[in-house]
């Protein structure tokens, strides 16, 4: 246990401390506005789930020393494709189509990065543009409604006993992600590649496969997030996921994942994403307008990132 504690960097504790601090702060100041109410806390979990799902994948992407800027754009396209296919086909086919979009984008991103040896920052910046355009044109900016009640229950507003079904998706993603990241060889290879790709290659790790895998994982996570949005909102629109890229990366980095690769934490990303969700929720209860929320969120992000990232660049 002692050795375990020693392995955890002090920086990781920042996210837990910040989480508690903000929680206590909101609990005290927003007590009368129902911050602590059962419904509100479950709401935070519901609203955070897509972010958490993507954050788990982004832990792998950043730890491998890469970045995926196309995440938010994939959410919009995937959601629209899912909702659109569901208009005329079964939900299963619609889900497959939505996931297919995400995985397809991941494969394309990954191939550009590995085969053409291009920086992922530029590749995914470009694909973000293409996908955003596609998402806008696929239904001519029209929102698409979803009426399949079973789909809505499983991926959105349903409950299992007192617990929202969305919480299970978040927990499942975190549990699986943590296990693979921390306890499987693949996770060890991801951090090794992000730490020193040449050393990893010399050690026999198939670096390109690892890179390709993290982009596919990232695209698939955006697609799953899109399906969860579509379920909760009972429809899709091209604006879905617009603000998510920043939120997800902030959640992951605040959670102790190194922005430059070689180190990451899935549990930290979960706490980081709950922290971001709690912030948004508290600001809404405070009565901030959406523009006020954006300003406050951005400022707090900057503060949080300054606190956690300071000194990360140099080893």
């Amino acid at each position: 246990m002692v050795t375990r504690l020693r392995e955890v960097e002090p920086r990781r504790f920042v996210v837990y401390a910040a989480f508690l601090l903000i929680f206590v702060f909101f609990a005290a100041t927003l007590h009368d506005d129902g911050f602590l109410s059962h419904t509100n806390l479950l709401n935070i979990v519901r609203q955070t789930t897509p972010i958490t799902v993507m954050a788990v994948a982004v832990v792998f992407v950043l730890s491998a020393g890469e970045i995926d800027l196309s995440l938010g754009a994939v959410v919009a396209l995937s959601a629209l494709v899912t909702a659109d296919v569901m208009q005329s086909h079964s939900a299963v086919l619609a889900i497959a189509a939505g996931l297919g979009v995400g995985i397809g984008v991941g494969v394309v991103n990954g191939l550009f990065v590995t085969v053409l040896v291009l920086p992922s920052f530029l590749v995914t910046l470009a694909s973000m543009g293409v996908i955003t355009g596609l998402a806008r044109s696929v239904t001519d900016l029209q929102a698409v409604a979803v009426e399949n009640q079973r789909f809505v229950d499983v991926f959105g507003s349903g409950n299992v006993g007192p617990i929202p079904s969305l919480a299970f998706w978040a927990l499942g993603a975190v549990a699986l992600g943590h296990f693979v990241f921390r306890h499987r060889r693949f996770g060890a290879h991801v951090v090794a590649v992000g730490d020193n790709a040449r050393a990893a290659r010399a050690a026999g790790i198939r670096v390109d496969r690892v890179h390709l895998a993290v982009f596919i994982l990232s695209g698939a996570s955006a697609a799953l997030a899109a399906i969860l949005y579509t379920g909760r909102l009972q429809g899709a629109s091209y604006t879905l996921g617009e603000q998510d890229l920043l939120t997800v990366i902030a959640a992951v980095v605040i959670g102790g994942t190194r922005l430059f690769g070689g180190e990451g934490s899935v549990i930290g990303a979960l706490v980081g994403s709950l922290l971001m969700g709690m912030l948004t929720n508290g600001l809404i209860l405070w009565g901030l307008t959406s523009s006020g929320q954006l300003i406050a969120q951005g400022a707090l992000l900057l503060l949080a990132i300054s606190l956690t990232l300071r000194g990360q660049r140099g080893r």
């Binding site: 050795t3 020693r6 392995e7 296990f179 921390r182 306890h183 499987r184 060889r185 996770g187 060890a188 290879h189 951090v191 090794a192 730490d195 020193n196 040449r198 050393a199 990893a200 290659r201 010399a202 050690a203 026999g204 790790i205 190194r258 070689g262 180190e263 080893r315």
Partner: protein, 244 residues
């Protein structure tokens, strides 16, 4: 006459229009240290990288115990019992010592194939003790170690996995005097175990301290191979610079 452990025949490597290595032919037997010397750009590292499977030779043959081998990937070289200690310390700095020791060959246990961190850590400790390498704990991160400790980890890794041949590319280039001595002692112990060692070094003093035979390269071409006992530093230096 039995075949040597390693035989390299007419090794040639081109990078586009550049011929980095041309016509290197050498043998190395178990328990023998063969040094590769030459000026910068003579092709020493290229030879090492070809033997480590980092890149394939353009032409020429590599034979292990008489059998021709090809390394499409570093993994294949490792499967054949070849380990390399690279010039730029091929270690993942943010990972613990034991992870580096087992990089690419992590131990797993159970039906879920979980990483067995305890076993890797214990095995690393045993190995470091054996080699008399002093590091507080195998769970320490590489970046918290000194240059000598890092190189010791890289060498210990090679010692652990090498069945036949260890390639060393400037193993002491970044080390101080005392640390260099310890690494040289490690190399001798490795040799006494019966492993063949191919050593690239800029230091002729070191080469004469360790090597049985010396292969001189100049501009990618093999100039000469001499038995260390039958030549002098002056002669080797002259061959390196092309005065002979």
């Amino acid at each position: 006459m039995p075949m040597p452990l390693l035989r390299v025949e007419h090794l040639r490597k081109e990078f586009g229009a550049v011929v980095a290595v041309d016509g290197v032919t050498l043998d190395a037997d178990g328990g023998e240290v063969v040094a590769l010397v030459g000026d910068n750009g003579a092709g020493k590292s290229t030879v090492v990288n070809c033997l480590a499977g980092v890149y394939p030779p353009t032409s020429g043959r590599i034979l292990l115990d008489g059998a021709a081998v090809q390394f499409p990937h570093p993994l294949e070289a490792r499967r054949q019992g070849i380990e390399a200690v690279f010039q730029d310390l091929a270690l993942a700095e943010l990972q613990p010592v034991y992870m580096n020791m087992f990089l690419g060959r992590e131990l797993v246990r159970g039906p879920l194939r979980r990483l067995d961190r305890e076993a890797m850590s214990a095995e690393t400790q045993r190995l470091l003790d054996n080699l008399d390498v002093r590091i507080d704990s195998p769970r320490k991160t590489i970046r918290d170690l000194s240059g000598g400790q890092r190189q010791a980890v890289a060498i210990a890794r090679a010692v652990h996995w090498a069945q036949r041949l260890v390639l060393m590319d400037e193993p002491t280039a970044s080390l101080g005097v005392a640390e260099t001595q310890r690494v040289e002692e490690l190399i001798r112990r490795l040799r006494d175990r019966g492993t063949a060692i191919l050593l690239v070094s800029h230091s002729l003093d070191q080469v004469f301290r360790l090597a049985d035979r010396i292969c001189v390269l100049r501009r990618g071409k093999q100039v000469e191979i001499r038995t260390a006992a039958q030549t002098t530093g002056e002669e080797i230096a002259a061959m390196i610079t092309g005065l002979l």
